[in-house]
Subunit: 455 residues, 2 copies
Amino acid sequence: MSPLPVESMDRYLQENLPASIEELKRLVAQKSISAQNLGLKECAELVANMLEKRGFHVKVNPTAGAPIVTAERKGRSDKTLLFYDHYDVQPPEPLELWLSEPFQPEERDGMLFGRGVSDNKGNIVNRLFAIDSMLDALGELPCAVKFLIEGEEEVSSANLEEFVFSHQTELKADACIWESGGVDQNDVPTQYLGLRGICYVELEVETASMDVHSGLGGTIFPNAAWKLVWALHSLKNEKEEILIDGFYDDVLPPSQEDLEFFKAMPDAAQDYRTRFGVKEFLQGMQGGFELNLAEAYKPSCTICGLTSGYQGKGSKTVLPARASAKIDFRLIPDQKPHRILELLRRHLDAHGFQDVKITDLGGEAPSKTSASHPFVQLVVDTAKEVYGVPMQIVPLSGGSGPNFIVQEALHVPIASLGAGYPGTGAHSPNENIRIADYLKSAQHIVRVLDAFGKD
Amino acid sequence: MSPLPVESMDRYLQENLPASIEELKRLVAQKSISAQNLGLKECAELVANMLEKRGFHVKVNPTAGAPIVTAERKGRSDKTLLFYDHYDVQPPEPLELWLSEPFQPEERDGMLFGRGVSDNKGNIVNRLFAIDSMLDALGELPCAVKFLIEGEEEVSSANLEEFVFSHQTELKADACIWESGGVDQNDVPTQYLGLRGICYVELEVETASMDVHSGLGGTIFPNAAWKLVWALHSLKNEKEEILIDGFYDDVLPPSQEDLEFFKAMPDAAQDYRTRFGVKEFLQGMQGGFELNLAEAYKPSCTICGLTSGYQGKGSKTVLPARASAKIDFRLIPDQKPHRILELLRRHLDAHGFQDVKITDLGGEAPSKTSASHPFVQLVVDTAKEVYGVPMQIVPLSGGSGPNFIVQEALHVPIASLGAGYPGTGAHSPNENIRIADYLKSAQHIVRVLDAFGKD
C-alpha cells in the first residue's frame, strides 16, 4: 500500500532538511540591506533562480527602488494562493554583538544564525521546501501558487503600492499567506491577523555651519542637540502620552472579539524579562492581558536612534551644529501615516520648532483580517496535526508591513505562518531560527496547500 | 654700531620663520589625542627633545596618564618665568570636513592647517622660536625660564593637580604665561585674565540587555533614548535656565572693573555670524556687551554629543537598549566642579532618573588674575611695539583650563599670549594659524622676556 501523500511529503521534508538549510544559507550569504541599498538586485536574481528551479514562471520587475520578484505556477485546482515575502533584511549593526558573522550563516545547537534567517529569507526558502515536497509526491501542486517577493519591506515598501495596484490581474488570488509567523514561548503556533501601521521619520536640526568650541558658543549660540531634545520632549511625556494634537483622533477601540483573543494569549512577561533583560514594563504593567494588548493594540512614538556631536571615547568640548533623531510611530486602525506626518509638522511648528526638518522615511497603514474568515480557520485548524494544537489567534501584531496594500488592492483574506519563535531576534544581533521549527513550518504549509486545493 | 638686541632678534625671527614652521609641522604630525590615548608618550619625547636642543634641563615625568614634560634653563636675572602649555590635541573628527589631512600639516594662503597648529602645539614651538632668537643674540636668556607641558589638557588635566602640588619647589616661578592667546577680529591682541571652570560628564541609560524590534517593544518596554531625552530636558529649559537645584548658588557677579573691560571689547556678532554660520544668538542677544559678557561670564550646560540606537542611513525599526549624552558645564567664580557633580546626582535622583549613570570625565575650577597686577601690565604694554596697540583685557574667557591649579599651587600671576586669531578653529575641522600672527607672537614673547629680565 502506497503511503498517503502527506506522509510521503513529511518523509521528503525530513530527508531533505539539510539540503534546504544549505539553500537558505546561500540566500542569507547574499547581502540585501535595503536601508543601505546593498546587494538588492543580486538577491532578487538569486530568489528568481530559486523559483525557476521549481518550475515557476518568474518575473524580476524593476521599480524605482529594489526589484519586485513575481512568480506563478498552476496547480490541480483553479484556486490561487498568494505568498507575500521579502528578500531584503535589516542592517546587521551593532556588529560587535554578533557571535558569528551575520552574512556567514552558522549552525549551532540546533539553530541557524545569520541576518535574515528568520526575517524573511528563512520563510522564503521554507515555502519552496514545502513546494518541493508536494512536487515530489504529486508531480504537481494542489492549487495555483503565486509569489510576490519585494526588496524594500524593511524600509516601508516604498514601491510596493504602485506595483500591486498596477498588477492586480497578474496578482489575483483567493487568499494570501503573509511573510512570517511561528510559535510563542509555549511552542503554540500563532496566527497574526493584522499589523500595526507605521510612520517613520527622521528629525533634523542644524543651528550653525560648523561645530564650535563649547567654551566659546555654549552660552551664546543655539545648540542643535538641545533643540532636538526639547523638540522630542514635546512629542511624548514620561507617562507615555503622545502629545501631538489630534494623534489619537482616528484610533478605534478593539472589538469584543479582539479583546477575547488578547485575553486568551499566554503571559509573555517572564519570557520578555529573560530574553531582553528588561527589568520593568512601562506604566507599571505586570504582564498578561494588559501587556499583550498594549504590545499590539496601542499606537507608539519610539526613538529608534539619536545622533549629535562627539560620540567617541572620553570628552570633546564641542557645541554640535547638527543633531538628528529617527522616530517610528506605530499606528492602529484607523490611523493613517500621511495624517500623522501632517499632525507632526503642525505640532512642531506650533511649539516653536519650525526649524526642525522632517524627512519621511516611509509609512504604512494598519490592516486586519477577520478571525471568522474561512481561510483563517483553514490555516488555524491545519496546524493541529503538526503542532498538536490549533493556532492561537492574535488579532493584531505589534509589527508593521505592507499587508494593507495587498488587502486593499487584491481584496484577499490574509493569514500568516512561518518558522519563527520568540527568541528569533529579528532586527537584532544573532538573529536565528530553530531548525525544528523550520521543519514544522514546512509541514504546516504542505497541509495548508493540500486543504486549500481540496476546499 | 651694532644693532640693538631686540632688532637683532626680530631679524633672526624673520629669517628663521620657515625653519620654525617646519619644526611645528613635525610636532603636529606626531598624533597626540588624549581623548583616545593615542601617541601621547611619543609626543612627550618629541617635545622633550625640542627643549633639550635649546639647552634646557628636561624631565619627562610619568603620571597615571600622559607624561608631563618639565624643563628649566637659567638666565641673566634670577627671576623666573613659567610657560604652561600642553602637547595633546582634540580628536580630529569629523574627518570628512577637513580640506587637508589633520595630521599632515599644510600651508595654504599664508596659513598653516592641521590639528594642534593653534591649540597648543603652535604656541609651544612659538615660545621655543622666541627663545632661539634670544640665545642667538645674547648667548643666554634674560631671565630663568621654566616649562610645564602636560598631555591631558583636552581631557581636563586629570593628573596635573597632583603633579604641580608635589613639585612646587621645582616649578617655583615669579609669573606664568598661559598656553594661548592671539588677536581678535580687528587684529587687536587680547589678554585673557581667567578661564571658566568645567565639569564634563557622560550620562548613560541602559534599559535592556539588547536592542529590541520597535514593533514589539515600543509600547511596553522602557526606551533608553526616551529616558535620556526626559532626563536631559529636566536639566535645562528652552529659556536656557539650568534647572539643577543650587546650580547658581556659588555664582559671583562680575566686578565693576570687569564689566568695564567687557564693555570695552569690540562687537563679535558679525564675525560669529560669518564664521560659524549662526543665524541668531540665544535669548535674542544682538551682540556687543551683552554677547561678550554672556560668552564668558555665564555658566553653561552644553550637550556635546548624543548617541543611541540606529544612526546609519535610512530607517531601522529598533528600540534602543542604551543611550548616552556628553555634557559640559562651564563654571564661573566661585562654582566648583565637584559640587556641580553632587548637585547633578541629587537632581537626577529627585526627578526619577536614579537609573541615569553619571561618569565624571573631568573637572576644573574657574580662576582669574587681577588686571591690576604689574606682570599683567608688562605683558599688555609690551604688545604695543609689535601690534601697534596694547593688549585688550578680557577678564574671563569662555574656555577652561587648569590655570586654577597653577594659581593655587604656585601663587603666581598668570597672563596669556599666543599665535591664535578668531578663525583659528581650535577643536574644529581645518584648525589653522596665520603665519604672520605666528611671527608677531614670537616677537611679543621676546619683548616680555626682555622686560621681565630687566624688571
